[in-house]
Amino acid sequence: MKASNQFWRERLLEEMPADLAREIDIYEMELELRRLGKIDEKVLAETRLRRGVYGQRYDNGQRWDGEATRQLQYPSAALTKGPSTLWDAPGMQRIKIPFGGLNVRQLEVLADLAEEYSDGIAHVTTRQDFQLHFIHIDDTPSLMRRLAASGITTREACGNTVRNVTACPYSGVCPDEVFDVTPYARACARFLLGHPDCQDFGRKFKAAFSGCKSHGCGLVNLHDLGAIAVTRTGNGKEQRGFEFYVGGGLGSVPHQAKLFDPFLPEEELLPTAQAISRVFARLGEKKNRNRARLKFLVSDLGVEEFRKIVLQERATLAHDSRWTAFLKDLAAHAETALKPAAALPPAFRGAASPPGFDRWLKTNVFSQKQPGYAVATVTLPLGDITSVQLRKLADIARRFVKDTIRTTVEQNIVLRWVSEGDLPELYGALASIGLGQPGAGTIVDITACPGTDTCKLGIASSRGLAAELRTRLAEQSHQMDQAVQNMHIKVSGCFNACGQHHIADLGFYGVSRHVASYTVPHFQVVLGGRWTDNAGSYGLAMGAVPSKRIPEAVLRITGRYVADRRKDESFQDFLQRLGKAEIKKLLQDLVSVPSHDVDPSFYADWGDTRVFTLGDLGAGECAGEVVSRVEFELTAAERQVFESQVLLDEGEFQKAGETACASMVQAAGALVKIFLPDIAGDADKILGEFRTRFYDTELFFDPYAGGKFAQYLFRAQQRAAGPYSAEVAHRRIEEAQLFVEAAYSCYGRLQAKRMLPLDSGSAPATAASPETA
């Protein structure tokens, strides 16, 4: 929608890394093709999801207004950006921040983007990403270009891909860590980004790194791939490696990760990740998305069998120098401080300190292993920060630290390498922009998924509840028992668990109950999950309580814990001792819902005045539908044809002709990859394989035109270099168009005849789905 959208590309061309610039051009062209009706909405949906461009609640053009469901009449009503997803409807942009690492320039860019394209708010997610909401899809290419110019890609922020690689925000400075996992997380993120072996997943894939086993920060247990730093001594030398886990995950069916290897040497990290990706792409479920995460494959095969298959796969991999190249300069990215180390002046401790400083110091500051330095946590309510705050936070970061800023999975931001002597001044600066709240990592530091605010799958308002709990608990937190203060609360808007409610002491997820003729928002109470030990155990559901009574439920449960707990008894042990029946009893009278006449407030959600409904639920985009690699590559071929037409219009005949030729090779390659997934991009090789596998066998033959379209390819390749006059280029484009069409038809025929082998990602009849295998 921005009038400036046409200008950013040129403006930033010099500043963007060439590969990112090209990717965004391609994405923009795909949007254009969709506007022209030339690509399918399902393909566009997965294409944009893979760039972090999500749908948002009400984007099917309907919204319950409290009395009726109303149509939202958008200008381009007929155009969709995905199944039942209207073009003009606001959407969300997820911005991938590997291990949460940011520099000050990036903070400023995020501030600008939130202001210009979103609603002035940047949101930190439960996986160290940023999200901007209410974005128009037309603005996404500009937004991506501005991010690219600051070194950020949104590629694979969503979709059936390798999602953001997370790591504990204290890595490198934590006194308890075995070693700094940052360079490993960075290398893993870079290596897997766009890797050909990661393009054909049936579902998303999440990796996390942790510097130690006992703390929660890395949450390794709930990840598809989790690595905990360990060392061992061999030949008198210390060797680095990872306690390596696979197949964890939350969602409606949570799984604890399984130990894959107690010591995976550092040089095996990337090849093993690659081999796992290949196995997941090949054997993972593709059809039934509810069983498509790696956790199902691991539990169906058993971790022993899974390991065997992965190791076999590992043995077949062609050597890649990137596997170990990063190990040579592990220290290259080492962080340094801006200011000399200093101790906190004693005058600032106790009574003489500025108001609020003591409490903030106690909860928000963490001494680094490097003496005289500390990590300061900037608590963000519900993970939200305004553009103005972001920009001023960049100024503050410049004053006190270098680019040592990270987001956390608790939806906060940390500044690392703060000289302890600067802490009072830093606190003052943060407080002056409303970012000096204490309570990081305590019961008031509640995490929540987007919920009904913006998520299409949301049932109840997770953010509304979190805001309410935060306000109420903050009022009393300083008088709370220490054991209660240290608890974690996490809220999800539905069973999908994006708010990670399973690993909270007090977790909640949105459900609904029918009362008379109404639907009433409720939360299922999930107690006793464990955040420490890398999300060591998952909580258990205790029953649903009306949303409006959750604050009371929290007070009751925590009150009982304080009253009845034995000396040093953990909350988890306390729950065990109390037993489920007793806990149910504790909550029993909170379960009832007064009639609408008596108290209508129960019938609306937190932060909303509309009578509650489930009518706004839409088809969710946890990721797009599975679009096979073949379909993606055919779409890419089609885009190249389009590109060649544009070049022709611009009078660039030579380039137009070459691009048209390349599009045919791309389409032929897409088909060849059905049988040879690893074939490289070399045109001659592709042509040879295409000839033997599709032409000689007549697989490619059109029922009417026979081999005619294939001959276009062969002839075009002989003269691929040109020269191209306007006429020749034009003819080549026509032929390319027909060839790409024929490739689509051929793919369709193979699907119909169920002739696709296992790893083409198209759910053939013979696929060993984990349910049947």
Binding site: M1, K2, A3, S4, F7, W8, R11, R57, Y58, R63, D65, G66, E67, R70, L72, Q73, Y74, P75, D88, A89, P90, E108, D112, E115, E116, D119, G120, I121, H133, F134, H136, P381, L382, D384, I385, T386, V388, Q389, R391, I433, G434, L435, D453, R463, G464, A467, R470, T471, G607, D608, T609, R610
Partner: protein
């Protein structure tokens, strides 16, 4: 210079008597009633952040919010969809939309007359750093149209125009007129 994405903010005279929560219901009612002929989509609640967007009515053409930026409560109109017409018309349209929303809130029964807007001061900014970088050149190009607008809003009053000085901020100005003006006065002046 192409002037688009105009933002206008009018400040509340006294914000102490107001609870922002009330605006969630009011804006939902605007959606239900389809006020103003624009496509209104949703309400976003940002009361939890300090000096932030407060409560926001998300629309297709524009967002309206009871905004607390700079710790000053006011009605912020944020035009998203490009506008037609010359610059003068665009500026006037944005101000008219903002004032119309202000008037609607002033008359809102739920607020009981507790909300009044100050007409003698407003902020205007252009929400696009590429079209309107925060520079002196932008100011020079923008000033004649702004002055024409101001002379309509404040026909015989003296007023000052001050440009936003933080170069990283969007291009924006604060206009302050001498004398007392209500939102209604300005709307009438704009229409006459």
């Amino acid at each position: 210079m192409e002037v688009q994405h105009v933002n206008v903010k009018f400040f509340a005279a006294d914000s102490r008597a107001l609870d922002l929560a009330g605006f969630i219901g009011i804006f939902n009612e605007w959606i239900r009633e389809r006020v103003g002929g624009e496509l209104l989509v949703d309400v976003a609640d940002y009361r939890h952040v300090s000096a932030g967007p407060g409560v926001m009515l998300i629309g297709h053409q524009a967002n309206y919010s009871m905004d607390e930026t700079g710790d000053r409560l006011g009605l912020l109109y944020n035009r998203k969809a490009p506008m037609n017409g010359d610059t003068g018309r665009r500026l006037a349209q944005a101000v008219r939309s903002a004032l119309t929303a202000c008037r609607r809130l002033e008359q809102e029964p739920l607020l009981d007359g507790r909300l009044k807007f100050i007409g003698s001061e407003f902020e205007m900014l252009l929400n696009d750093r590429l079209l309107a970088p925060n520079t002196e050149e932008t100011f020079a190009a923008f000033e004649p149209d702004l002055r024409t607008l101001c002379s309509r809003l404040y026909p015989s009053a003296v007023y000052t125009v001050q440009q936003n000085t933080d170069l990283r901020e969007r291009f924006g100005v604060r206009v302050k007129a001498v004398g007392s003006f209500t939102a209604l006065d300005l709307l009438r002046n704009l229409e006459s």
